[in-house]
């Protein structure tokens, strides 16, 4: 198993995350796309840490990414719930109050 295998898996997961961000209208599903992108980045960090002789700095950075993802998910879901209370929908293309 070379480094390239892990990098290709990470590229596929990253593309799936970007795809989820672009084609899904539900805001919660778009957040799931962001989580996929962060996971792809983490795979790269861990893979490079392993193939450079298990330098643990990569692991520490991956842990910080996980912490940031947790904080981001909490705040973003609070915002989504607030938007739902005000607009009665979380579809990203129906929230167009700024247009009027």
């Amino acid at each position: 198993m070379g480094l390239t295998h892990y990098l290709v898996v990470s590229a596929i997961l990253f593309s799936l995350g970007v795809l989820a961000l672009t084609i899904r209208r539900n805001a919660v599903l778009m957040l799931m796309g962001i989580e996929l992108i962060l996971n792809a980045a983490n795979i790269n960090f861990i893979a490079f840490a392993y193939y450079d002789g298990l330098k643990l700095q990569g692991h520490v950075v991956a842990l910080f990414v996980i912490v940031l993802a947790a904080a981001e998910a909490a705040v973003a879901l609070a915002i989504v719930l607030h938007i739902y209370k005000m607009n009665n929908t979380v579809e990203a293309d129906q929230i167009n109050k700024l247009r009027e």
Binding site: I12, L56, V75, L81
Partner: protein
């Protein structure tokens, strides 16, 4: 040899359930297949000798973020609304663009020669070294992460509270 089989099992688990997250018609199916994506990624971490990060991934992502997502799905659907479907939009142009991006990324990843140290480490347990790094070299980001989590929790509670 067994490592190779395990790698393909975990990678297929992550990628296939990632496809389900993106393309499934039902939001709740997407949320639950995200669980299997996270499990597959955690398995890849174990194969890369990152046991502590794998356990942190399972505990934080599956135990925390995914529960939050499922709550988010359930709280943002009308109780009287029978519709559980979430249609996609502009799928074909997005597929073309994202396919081009993915092709470029895979091409770069496979054609570049990455400078690796060559020696395969065979240590067991990374927890102690990670703890030492967190409290020496990375002490400043560590404390800042604590402050960030406190601010994020308070901000989330403030935003989501019931307005009178």
């Amino acid at each position: 040899m067994e490592i190779a089989i395990l790698f393909y099992v975990f990678a297929a688990l992550a990628v296939i359930s990632g496809f389900v997250v993106v393309f499934s018609r039902s939001v709740i199916y997407a949320a639950f297949s995200l669980l299997f994506t996270f499990l597959g990624v955690a398995g890849l971490y174990v194969l890369l000798n990152a046991d502590f990060v794998a356990v942190a991934q399972i505990m934080v992502y599956i135990g925390g973020i995914l529960i939050l997502m499922v709550f988010g799905v359930m709280l943002t659907r009308k109780a009287t609304d029978a519709e559980v479907q979430a249609p996609t939009m502009k799928t074909i142009p997005a597929l073309i663009v994202v396919g081009l991006v993915m092709g470029t990324l895979v091409n770069v990843f496979t054609s570049a020669t990455w400078p690796t140290s060559g020696m395969m480490p065979d240590i067991e347990g990374t927890t102690m070294e990670i703890g030492e790094l967190l409290l020496t070299t990375f002490i400043m980001p560590f404390e800042l992460a604590g402050i960030l989590l406190l601010a994020a929790i308070m901000g989330a509670a403030f935003i989501a509270r019931r307005q009178e």
